[in-house]
């Protein structure tokens, strides 16, 4: 049965058979080469020795449980989200947990309230990558919503200002915004008040990403028919209630796939901070390679980094697709 299908699909004529054979032999050759390299040629000691660095940066050794706890919570939360439909009581709490986990990260990493303070230059690795991503994402979503609504406002001042902001941000390269974030934000702050480089990066990412989110959300808003607003008005709802309870939920559903793309893009773009001196995942890789002890091990390090990025991005995509499915189910039943 299966053999017959394979024969039909892959070997139905001579040309198909040749193509199939070529592709199969290509896959086999590259797989064996790669596996051979992974298991025999590569020297993974550089990864093994530096595992804590890759995950947590140079966080003080005796405090490693803090980023460790945070990362574990995220992992648990991710799986809980994926399994949520089987545990009926979970979904109610998930949104609150997701929103609170970024601030929790800042608290666990930075300290305070009984935890000893740890300076931001000791934050690093995958922890810092996820902190940058999650905090920027959580801040830029509301800003993006406000900008998208602003762009549709009936007040010309608000409409023009939103459009100007969105269009400007979208015509500037991200790296420039990040540079300006590091250099200019301190100038705008009153003397004596200093915010660390991580926060400056988060602000820069937020300002940049929100412009893109705003455009995705605007697309979602436009997909909601005008009659929905009318239906709300007729019920005596306040315009703000109509926007929040009727228009936005529908718009965000439509925009969800593009919002996910932006989130995955954001995670990858946090690696730009390596150039600006943060030791997030890519930065820590570079600094490990700069250590004479590990010189020349760059293929191992970059393969390892690629694998880590791949796992995290795939997890994000899985969760997003899961949410989309859930919403489609809600609509159809």
């Amino acid at each position: 049965m299966i053999l017959k299908k394979i024969k039909q699909r892959a070997f139905s004529n001579i040309l198909d058979s040749i193509t199939t054979l070529i592709i199969i032999s290509f896959i086999i050759i590259s797989l064996t080469t790669i596996l051979k390299w992974i298991f025999f040629s590569a020297n993974w000691s550089v990864v093994k020795i530096n595992l804590p660095l890759f995950f947590f940066g140079s966080f003080p050794k005796d405090q490693l449980w803090r980023p460790g706890l945070w990362m574990s919570l995220i992992a648990i939360l991710s799986f809980a989200t994926l399994l949520a439909p089987r545990w009926k009581w979970v979904p109610k709490f998930l949104p609150i947990l997701w929103i609170s986990f970024a601030p929790l990260g800042i608290f666990l990493l930075g300290g305070g309230l009984g935890l000893s303070p740890v300076e931001s230059r000791n934050w690093g690795g995958l922890t810092l990558t996820i902190l940058l991503t999650s905090f920027s994402a959580i801040l830029s979503l509301p800003l993006g919503i406000v900008l998208a609504l602003g762009r549709q406002s009936e007040l010309p001042v608000i409409r023009k200002a939103s459009s100007l902001y969105i269009d400007t941000m979208r015509s500037v390269p991200l790296i420039a915004v990040l540079f300006f974030g590091q250099l200019l934000i301190p100038l705008f702050l009153p003397i004596g008040l200093e915010i660390n480089r991580v926060y400056r990066a988060i602000i820069a990412f937020t300002l940049f990403v929100s412009a893109y989110l705003a455009e995705d959300i605007r697309g979602g808003l436009q997909s909601v028919p005008k009659t929905q607003r009318e239906a709300g008005e007729v019920l005596g709802l306040h315009p703000l209630q109509i926007t929040c309870l009727i228009i936005l939920p529908q718009a965000l559903r439509v925009a969800l796939p593009s919002l996910t793309n932006q989130a995955v893009g954001l995670l990858q773009n946090t690696s730009l901070m390596a150039i600006l001196g943060l030791v997030e995942l890519l930065g820590i890789g570079r600094s490990i390679l700069a250590n004479p002890e590990f010189i020349g091990r760059y293929i191992e390090v970059y393969v390892w980094l690629a694998a880590l990025y791949w796992v995290v991005c795939t997890l994000m995509a899985l969760i997003a697709r899961h949410l989309e499915k859930q919403m489609a189910l809600e609509k159809r039943g």
Partner: protein, 249 residues
């Protein structure tokens, strides 16, 4: 008794020159069912949409439930006060697709009237039972047929306990075999004494349920008669022509 709706010399034009409403005067008494008929584009929708402030008008007077509305445009609060007491049902149902049937109905009672959720849900279930669709309470609008969706829309409008219901061609978007389930629900409302303004081309409904028929053309009231007179012996040539046309269909 004070009329529920009293319009005097209402006039409105969208583009210059074309009058969507041309000097319209009518009144609706409590418990009365006014049927509005007229060819497409004659201004029927525009007229009933002025009654709950979805459309403004250029001149004339309008009084809904004792609340006077002027032709100026800054009356949001007054309009919201009216909307809390006037329900409306649209041709395309306009249910909220992201909310369940129950949530569609309880939204306004909870958010506008600040009712408790339990109480609002209980009342919603009573309304759904009246409409014969209580088994769909937990479903979403896209899972229902057009006729069922329109009955949900009626229940949603009823949830605020309105004193007047406006219907804009409530059965025009339905499959023919689904029309009667909606008309029956409306008939029962009329029997319970609900005041209604209904734009419809359903002649039988107008004959049986209507107290008055308002016939419009090009934004003008051509005639206002009782259904008996309108359908058997319309006063105006244009009304008769229109009736012949809808009979042919």
């Amino acid at each position: 008794m004070l009329p529920i709706v009293k319009a005097t010399n209402l006039t409105k034009s969208y583009a210059k020159g074309i009058r969507a409403l041309d000097n319209i005067s009518i009144s609706v008494d409590p418990g009365e069912v006014l049927v509005v008929m007229g060819p497409s584009g004659s201004g029927k929708s525009t007229l009933i949409r002025t009654f709950n402030g979805l459309e403004t008008f250029d001149s004339g007077q309008l009084n809904v439930l004792g609340i006077p509305l002027g032709s100026n445009h800054n009356e949001e609060r007054k309009i919201r006060r009216i909307r809390k007491r006037v329900g409306m049902v649209f041709q395309q149902f306009n249910l909220f697709p992201h909310l369940s049937i129950l949530e569609n109905i309880t939204l306004a009672p909870i958010k506008v009237q600040k009712k408790k959720r339990d109480e609002a849900e209980h009342e919603a279930l009573v309304l759904l039972t009246q409409m014969g669709i209580e088994s769909h309470a937990q479903k979403y609008p896209s899972q229902l047929s057009g006729g069922e969706q329109q009955r949900v829309a009626i229940a949603r409008a009823l949830a605020l306990k309105p004193e007047l219901l406006l219907f804009d061609e409530p059965t025009s978007a339905l499959d023919p075999e689904r029309v009667n389930e909606v008309l029956d629900a409306m008939r029962r409302l009329a029997e319970q004494g609900m005041s209604m303004v209904v734009v419809t081309h359903e002649v039988n409904f107008a004959k049986e349920v209507g107290d008055k028929v308002l016939f419009m053309d090009s934004g003008k009231v051509i005639e206002t008669s009782t259904p008996d007179i309108f359908f058997l012996d319309a006063k105006h040539q244009r009304s008769r022509k229109f009736l012949n046309q809808i009979k042919k269909k």
